[in-house]
């Protein structure tokens, strides 16, 4: 298997990516697909803002508008934000803990392909009779009343991609528990690894309720069950509970890795270790823990009664405490540091006021009686965009710039990066700040139009203008990516020069086996410690150089996911009398999935070894070769 550093044709590269189990390549797959869906979701957002640009606009019809908002929310949460964060987790976390790969490389690939086919399936709804139109929350009574197959695309698509996410979560947890390099104790793990760990635990416990809810929806709509059919004894509030038991932790699944990325950035570009590392770790764990106890604050107006509302209001307020701890520790990290205003750093700096603004409106909405006014108004729209865009999207943009050299070996242009930053940042505040006031002026969310007599014209126009700025920022980023790729100026191990953690001690991009020798970790910010002690290699080693065991690539994950994709069409048309073939398709699809599962189970797959000699030779060539497997 001596296949290091071969020149490969285009077809071979494609095949390589289809079969890869390498966490770094899977990260690239996640980044590209997540980035694609981010653009789709952004396009949908622009349509929404054009429609609401002025009173009584007729750019989109009422039905199409509802499809647009539903797909915008669903796409951004499930198909853009989460996968892009999974891309960074995949690319960076194993490097940070000194591992050669994740615990289950095969499952890593399966997780990606499930997400991918789920996302494609969901978006095919646009071309196959209409997208889902009951909002991303898909409340049951409206969802059951929705005509066409949109809701079925939603339930089945999210079920598939949800399985993928669950698999990714388990994989990261096991990786962090079992595969840390010697000396990498839990309290020496970089913050991004910690947040990956907690977010993965949240995925593990939050996605099953969603899957159960989606199954109920599928059974109700397609197989005649009555979970949510009120006349048959069903109850639609069950959906709301299941959805939000998932939905609230989901917010933390998104924001915790974002916190992790910013924690890395603050430390790197202040040249200072994180202030209150221990407090930051415990705050992360606390936020994850509380995340499961506050779901009913999304349901203050449902009529659960004053006791439930009061309890959940207080529980929600408590979350502000660990979040505040984080903010202050970050501030104290840059305090007394030496701040370099690179693109990732300006995003991190801009994140603090933006996120604090989103946080304080969150506390305002925890006040249940006040929430009766704010709930389902534009105030909540403003709030969650401040948290998601001001927190998660800024982190994604920052992470893209920060980790681009580690993932691709080139640096994105700082100049264009600044252009993106300013247009996006100004556009973001212009779009969403004013929406707080729209909500206070009585504008409900999810309205496809508004009358000129409601007094909301000016603010909506401003908001739409802001969206345009954000779009320009994203376009500049795309140009930046193209220019950078074409120029292809390669960079070294530590392109930001102040890297602190293990990923900056190895080549960019790293060789496919990551570490020729497993590193020995001697403290928090291990690369920084070695640098300060003048260690030119940047690492001390826990083992002599020797054979390295690597997993084989496989096409089975793709086939398995494709089987689910096929089966979903069968389920979709199951009750459609004009499509008698539906049952056959369902069976064939499940057959493909379970068949490939059986093949995987029965066929031994022991991986292969890279010999010591190959490793040494590779090191001579600079070490960042791109192996076939």
């Amino acid at each position: 298997m001596s296949s290091l550093a071969q020149k490969k044709g285009f077809g071979a590269v494609i095949w390589d990516y289809l079969t890869t189990v390498d966490h770094k390549k899977i990260a690239i797959l996640y980044l590209i697909s997540g980035g694609f869906f981010f653009l789709v979701g952004g396009l949908e957002a622009m349509m929404i803002r054009i429609q609401l640009m002025k009173a009584g606009n007729d750019f989109l019809s009422a039905g199409l508008y509802n499809e647009m908002i539903t797909m915008h929310g669903t796409t951004m949460i499930f198909l853009a934000a989460m996968p892009i964060l999974l891309a960074f987790m995949n690319a960076i976390m194993p490097l940070q803990i000194g591992a050669r790969d994740v615990a289950f490389p095969f499952l890593n690939s399966l997780g990606f392909w499930l997400f991918f086919f789920g996302g494609i399936f969901l978006n095919l709804s646009w071309f196959m009779g209409g997208a889902p139109d009951a909002g991303w929350t898909n409340y049951a009574s409206l969802a059951l009343a929705s005509e066409g197959h949109g809701i079925d695309f939603y339930s089945l698509g999210l079920t598939i991609s949800g399985f993928g996410t669950l698999i990714a979560g388990i994989n990261f947890l096991v990786t962090i528990i079992n595969m840390r390099a010697p000396g990498m104790t839990y309290m020496r793990m970089p913050l991004f690894t910690w947040t990956t760990f907690v977010a993965s635990a949240l995925i593990l416990l939050a996605f099953p309720p969603l899957t159960v809810g989606l199954f109920f929806m599928v059974f109700d709509r397609m197989f005649g069950a009555n979970f949510f059919v009120v006349e048959m004894g069903g109850n639609t509030i069950i959906w709301e509970h299941l959805f939000w038991i998932f939905g609230h932790p989901e917010v933390y699944i998104l924001i915790l890795p974002a916190f992790g990325i910013f924690s890395e950035i603050f430390a790197i570009f202040s040249r200072k270790r994180l202030f209150g590392y221990t407090a930051l770790v415990f705050a992360t764990i606390l936020i994850g823990f509380y995340g499961f106890m506050v779901w009913a604050h999304h349901m203050f107006t449902v009529g659960l009664g004053p006791t439930a509302n009061a309890v959940f209001a207080l529980a929600t307020m408590i979350i502000a405490v660990p979040t505040g701890i984080k903010i202050f520790n970050w501030l104290l990290t840059i305090w007394g540091g030496s701040i370099k205003f690179t693109v990732p750093m300006v995003y991190a700096i801009a994140f603090i006021p933006s996120f604090v603004a989103g946080g304080v409106t969150g506390v305002m909405q925890a006040i249940a009686p006040l929430d009766y006014q704010l709930h389902d108004s534009y105030f909540i729209v403003a709030h969650f965009h401040y948290v998601i865009v001001g927190g998660v999207v800024l982190a994604i943009l920052a992470g893209t710039h920060l980790y681009w050299p580690k993932m691709f070996g080139t640096m994105l242009s700082e100049k264009l990066g600044m252009v993106t930053f300013w247009t996006f940042f100004i556009g973001f505040h212009l779009t969403f700040f004013i929406q707080h006031f729209l909500g206070l002026l009585g504008m409900p969310r999810r309205v496809y139009t508004f009358g000129a007599d409601q007094g909301w014209d000016l603010f909506n126009a401003i908001s739409s203008l802001g969206a345009l700025f954000m779009a320009i920022g994203v376009i500049v980023l795309l140009i930046n990516v193209v220019i950078t790729s074409v120029k292809n100026v390669r960079v070294g191990n530590d392109p930001w020069e102040d890297g602190r953690t293990l990923e900056w001690a190895i080549p960019s991009p790293p060789p496919f086996y990551n570490f020729a020798q497993t590193p020995l970790v001697r403290g928090l910010d291990t690369y920084w410690i070695e640098k300060m002690e003048g260690n030119k290699e940047g690492m001390v080693y826990a083992e002599p150089i020797g054979d390295v065991h690597m997993p084989n690539g496989s096409i089975i994950p793709l086939i398995m996911s494709f089987g689910m994709f096929v089966a979903s069409f069968g389920a979709l048309y199951f009750q459609d009398d004009t499509k008698p073939w539906a049952l056959a398709v369902l069976i064939i699809g499940l057959g493909i999935t379970f068949g490939s599962m059986l093949v995987r189970s029965l066929k031994d797959d022991l991986g292969f070894h890279i010999t010591k000699e190959e490793l040494l030779e590779d090191a001579k060539r600079g070490g960042n070769t791109d192996g076939l497997k």
């Binding site: 207080l314 701890i325 506390v363 002026l441």
Partner: protein, 360 residues
């Protein structure tokens, strides 16, 4: 970076100016101009929390701005390696304790108000003669309109809620089809209208709606319920108790037949094509497929959101889907037995409907 900061300040200033210029919105619908006890309580909570949160923002901003001004590498030089501080238990304690205190300040009124606003125990209280002491309105939400039944008074109306001022009005909310949410922003927060259970709450109306520019408060559906969710509006007329009693009395009377010839013709057409779904008597019954039209002539809007004139009314009757997509009212052709209504019939219907009034 300096240029960035100026941008930011300019932008903030501009935003503040805009907010100031457009004031607090329209008093018919703005939560910032509360017109009743419930909205006032919620507004007070808004102010209190805004003050507390502004304090938080100021503290963070001061540290933040000082940090990014003082500790720039361009000032400190490229070779400077800062001291690697681990943390400070004292500081951690402070920024754990202070937020907890701030939250306690918010928690007390939150809990009090949560129970206060949910207190509907007085709903069923009766005086010595067994009459209900407080007004109760049963609200039923339909795709995309609202029915208001006054069970004690035995009357039903739709789309325009009429309530007395300066007393508690209790509401029972239920949906006839899918989930909606009942919201009168300037009078109080929303409560969901579920298909499976009755939700109860109360509101108080402290201002007579005749003082408003448009003469009514605006009510909204706040839960996505389909294509015309945005158009599921209703209006609220608040009048003093005396006027309310008069209104109830005239609602309870038998409706008078139409007076002029055109309206009479319209009444006939109505009896042939519309009466199956729409009641025109204040007595109801409740639960008809379409809104009760007894007070149609007194209303502020056609179909809840269009300007109240005959033109809009005629357009609506002929082609409701065009104006409120997804609503359940059949078009003119279906109602008229296969033929679209003629211009004459429409004029007659409009004249008849506009003549339906219980106000003097």
């Amino acid at each position: 970076m300096m240029k960035g900061l100026t941008n930011w300040r300019l932008f903030a200033l501009l935003t503040a100016l805009l907010v100031f210029l457009s004031g607090c919105g329209r008093e018919e619908i703005s939560t910032l101009i509360p017109a009743g006890k419930v909205a006032q309580d919620q507004f007070n909570l808004l102010i209190l929390s805004t003050i507390v949160m502004t304090f938080v923002i100021i503290v963070v901003s001061v540290i933040f701005v000082l940090a990014i001004v003082k500790f720039r590498r361009s000032k400190l030089g490229d070779d400077m390696i800062p001291e690697q501080v681990e943390g400070s238990a004292k500081l951690e304690f402070i920024w754990t304790a202070v937020p907890i205190v701030l939250l306690l300040i918010l928690a007390v009124p939150t809990v009090y108000s949560t129970f206060d606003l949910a207190d509907v125990t007085a709903m069923d209280s009766t005086d010595e003669e067994g009459n209900q002491e407080n007004l109760t309105v049963n609200v039923t939400a339909y795709l995309y309109w609202w029915e208001f039944e006054y069970p004690e008074q035995g009357i039903v109306t739709a789309q325009e809620l009429v309530v007395p001022t300066d007393e508690r009005v209790y509401f029972n909310l239920i949906s006839a089809d899918i989930k909606h949410s009942f919201w009168i922003p300037s009078v109080g927060g929303k409560l969901d209208v579920n298909p499976e259970n009755v939700n109860k709450f109360y509101l108080e109306f402290d201002q007579e709606s005749s003082e408003l520019e448009d003469g009514v408060f605006y009510g909204k559906c706040a839960e996505l319920c389909g294509p015309s969710h945005a158009l599921m509006d209703f209006k609220v007329k608040s009048v003093d108790r005396e006027e309310f009693d008069q209104w109830v009395a005239s609602m309870q009377e038998e409706p008078e037949p139409a007076a002029d010839a055109l309206a009479q013709e319209g009444e006939e057409t109505f009896a042939n094509s519309c009466i199956g779904c729409h009641a025109v008597s204040g007595a109801g019954p409740a639960g008809m497929p379409g809104p009760n039209l007894t007070t149609f002539g007194d209303r502020n809007r056609v179909a809840g959101f269009m300007e109240h004139n005959e033109e809009n009314l005629k357009n609506w009757i002929q082609d409701p889907q065009e104006y409120k997509p997804g609503n359940l009212m059949p078009d003119g052709q279906t109602n008229n037995g296969g033929e679209p209504f003629s211009e004459q019939e429409l004029d007659a219907l409009a004249a008849y409907l506009m003549s339906l009034s219980v106000e003097e």
